[in-house]
Symmetry: C2
Subunit: 136 residues, 2 copies
């Protein structure tokens, strides 16, 4: 299950896209608009910055800004930056040591298929896809 870190990250980027201007957007404002803790966002944004998904400027008048156009962000790369791991099972996680039962495992192909399915979906959607308001 995707954690609040990833979900908040998504919402922050949507917020940044919707409030783009020439200047930078302070997280203080985003926190209010999104109804989440500023302090928590301050932990999440460095993860996005590290992957060059945003630029952050310190000091008065500072804040964050997108580094590219919304349609150039895949949801996959955003979640990748914030979630610990997107693999559906332990043994497919980043840097997992090879399972001793690997050669006899009947499920690994199935799990790989699931991972591929999920990854494909996540990489097929972009931030731009989330910008239209639509409710049911």
């Amino acid at each position: 299950m995707v954690s609040t870190r990833g979900r908040y990250a998504l919402r922050v980027l949507i917020d940044l896209a919707n409030n783009q201007k020439d200047s930078y957007v302070p997280m203080k404002d985003v926190a209010v608009r999104q109804g989440v803790s500023l302090k928590y966002l301050e932990q999440i944004l460095p993860l996005l910055k590290q992957q060059n998904l945003v630029v952050g400027i310190q000091g008065k008048g500072g804040g964050y800004r997108l580094t590219k156009k919304p349609e150039e962000y895949t949801i996959g790369e955003i979640l990748q930056a914030t979630e610990k791991d997107l693999a559906p099972v332990e043994c497919l996680a980043e840097g997992a040591l090879t399972c001793p039962r690997r050669s006899e495992c009947k499920t690994i192909a199935f799990w790989e298929g699931l991972k591929n399915t999920v990854d494909s979906y996540l990489n097929s959607k972009t931030l731009a896809d989330l910008l239209q308001t639509e409710y049911s």
Copy 2:
């Protein structure tokens, strides 16, 4: 991420399918073959029994047996029985209360799409698909 409960459940059912006979298969044997704790399996099997995925017989000569043919089990229903929830985000979980931001939420459709994608995959594969040994 799918927990060991779900993964072990899958392996138990594969094991049962591979060791089918007229009699019942005791978990003691499955535990040895699969290299997992018997005591832990004893917690998992009741979940499968509850959904009529297996029948269990107590007493000497007892054990468990599949209730239908391997091709009639979808992986989805197996994981459904053992995992707490298969939803990718909290607000799509079983019996989640409706989010106060629901009407303005820009991500819900995306998450629903992810859930549908995952469910489709899980329901398209059957236990029979996992029975062929294949390694790479």
